[in-house]
Symmetry: none
Subunit: 215 residues, 4 copies
């Protein structure tokens, strides 16, 4: 395979900086993480979006969060059909092997995937409707959410759909037998949050009022 290239120079330089500082100062911790294996307390499912860093927001260091990131922080419905299911595999590993105690689904403002879904469902993005569109087929997971949106202006509806992507993921998670069992046992709790990138606010889903409220 002759197509892979060396890393860009600026990343090589930064890596060497990290190695000589952060790594050097925490050498013992990295060694121990390597020897003892990971034991994260929580799994986080968040978006690939470059503007969303849960480790920064929650002051987490190496070893704290098992993190799966995909477009629009979606969990597909439970489907043990022998296909490749990357998200379901990550959830299975976190819950059954690592036995995490919290599973946090985090959505965010300005989500490109959610916007694509919105446009597709509105008939404005025919290219996403094609069989060959991976983004379109992935965002199909969120379609049931679009259909239940209340009337309103586009921006409000987009925000509502971003929050719905969190809730649909949590509903789908409950369809996985091992997730449901751990939740019912009290060994796992599910959490849904939404981050506004512009003003840094964080809203948490409150089941009592069925709304997202600022924390």
């Amino acid at each position: 395979m002759t197509l892979a290239k060396p890393l860009p120079e600026y990343l090589v330089r930064r890596y060497h900086g990290w190695k000589a500082t952060t790594f050097a100062e925490n050498k013992g911790w990295y060694k121990r993480l390597a020897e003892d294996g990971q034991r994260p307390r929580a799994m986080v499912i968040s978006c690939c979006d470059s503007r969303v860093h849960v480790t920064s927001i929650f002051g987490a260091d190496q070893g704290e969060f098992f993190i799966h990131r995909n477009i629009a922080n979606l969990v597909p419905p439970y489907a043990p059909d022998s296909d490749h299911h990357g998200t379901s595999a990550a959830v299975e590993y976190a819950v059954r092997t690592l036995r995490v105690n919290h599973l946090i689904v985090m959505g965010h403002s300005g989500c490109g995937g959610v916007q694509g879904c919105y446009d597709m469902c509105s008939g404005d993005a025919p290219e996403l409707e094609e069989t060959s569109s991976f983004v379109g087929r992935w965002m199909d997971i969120l379609r049931p959410g679009f259909e239940k949106l209340e009337a309103g202006d586009r921006q409000d509806r987009l925000t509502a759909l971003e929050k719905t992507s969190v809730l649909i993921s949590i509903e789908n998670l409950m369809g996985f037998p091992f997730v449901r069992e751990a939740v019912e046992d009290g060994t796992l709790t599910l959490h849904g949050v939404w981050n506004d990138i512009a003003d840094g606010s964080l809203e948490s889903y409150d089941p009592e009022t069925d709304r997202f409220v600022a924390i």
Copy 2:
């Protein structure tokens, strides 16, 4: 849905700390990221493992990397079959919509997913062979790599398989028409790296020698 719970208190406190410091000090940047949208230079595909933080290793800040994380940093083969393909959707979005210029696949030492694959292919993990095992079916992507491993001791072969997971992902990426096209146009370069958690070293795949070499 009555099952979601409020965030654990310690994360709420840490979030408020982040909001009052990191966020407050970079408010203008977050606002601009929100208004202008993201424009990341690179996509990274790495493992969910809590011990692997590419943003830390590469000193990246909000807005720099579009990051997809799944078990064992795998990219499945191109399969436009209308199923939900989270990894393929992320790659499609990064390459076609965001037009990233680098796509870095990063493997790591002590990868639990790779070890599961190794044991499954060795006949030592029958539970992973079941149709209903999401981890098993996901790790099937790496099976062809197991079959080509050279003889040797278990630890050497596991490390070799971790590096193979990077190379298989890059090979599979080249099967996506839009990836191949961008690579051939010279607008996208692919990179394969492997991180040793214990000693912090980083090896980069060198196509000249067909080996991973320390950077």
Copy 3:
């Protein structure tokens, strides 16, 4: 001295978060605490174990509890022999200088120190019997408790020994003339509790029945 290192980066970030939130919001209180000095109502003696946080369990804030933490929440017998006695110094300061009104000794389930004592007294931990073992010599304080354990299975006897560590500490406390005097004057009361980490229960020693009972 060239061996001390800067604090790990993640703790620096979290500290700045605390400073900008918890501290900023309670500035007046911290200032007054600094100017007036502390005036805690209670002293707590608990274990160093990272899973035991009396401030969390009792909702205590800065200024409420004077806290001494050592292995297995032990108080050694009164011995005014001019050696360094950290625990006795803490008790003396709390009772004579701060004149606390409550002195709470808190044990807990799964105590590593108590288990070490149990194994040592059972002849299963020869390394703890060496003169040079600080943990072994410290746990000698609990030896008389081991000898009085009722027959039973290992787990029951370990739990009994954890509770005994609380009672031996209270007995030893009564050997300190200034403690006895304050107790007899009615200005100080002693309390013994034991926390089960797994189920969050708290048991309090009841002198009437000579047992620990759930509160």
Copy 4:
């Protein structure tokens, strides 16, 4: 033993509140901590003073820090003489059994123990010089620090002595063979910090300049 009393009612009420909220929301985590045992990354040695809460300052939750608290955060010199050494036992357990990677000694402003040492060494506290004074004999550990104080006003000298208590502890720690070995192996790093209660600032000892600098 008829002298122990039931817990004060206000603490019982607060405990029940904690059980119904914090504990209930993190049940899985507590269960797992109980089953798997603790695996703290750091040990902290801080003062018993009720105004100093390292878990709050560093946003730490159950399981993160192994904490020893004594008067003036002192570590006595290495003395394997078969006496009861609570501090040395805590250090031994943290370094040899738990294999913590960071050991943080934290001093603070307005430390009553340090002030007692200052007055005693100045000849102003004859009661602390008595053989029977546990506080006096404990603060003897800091005597060598008093003798090296530069001239200046009382307040500056007290602050200097508080910082010296951190440095003497670190020096004494290096006299423990297992601490020295772990430091030399790079598996353990030592850190010295000092907290100003009034203004919330935190200073970290910088070996390059041999001074405490604000972080």
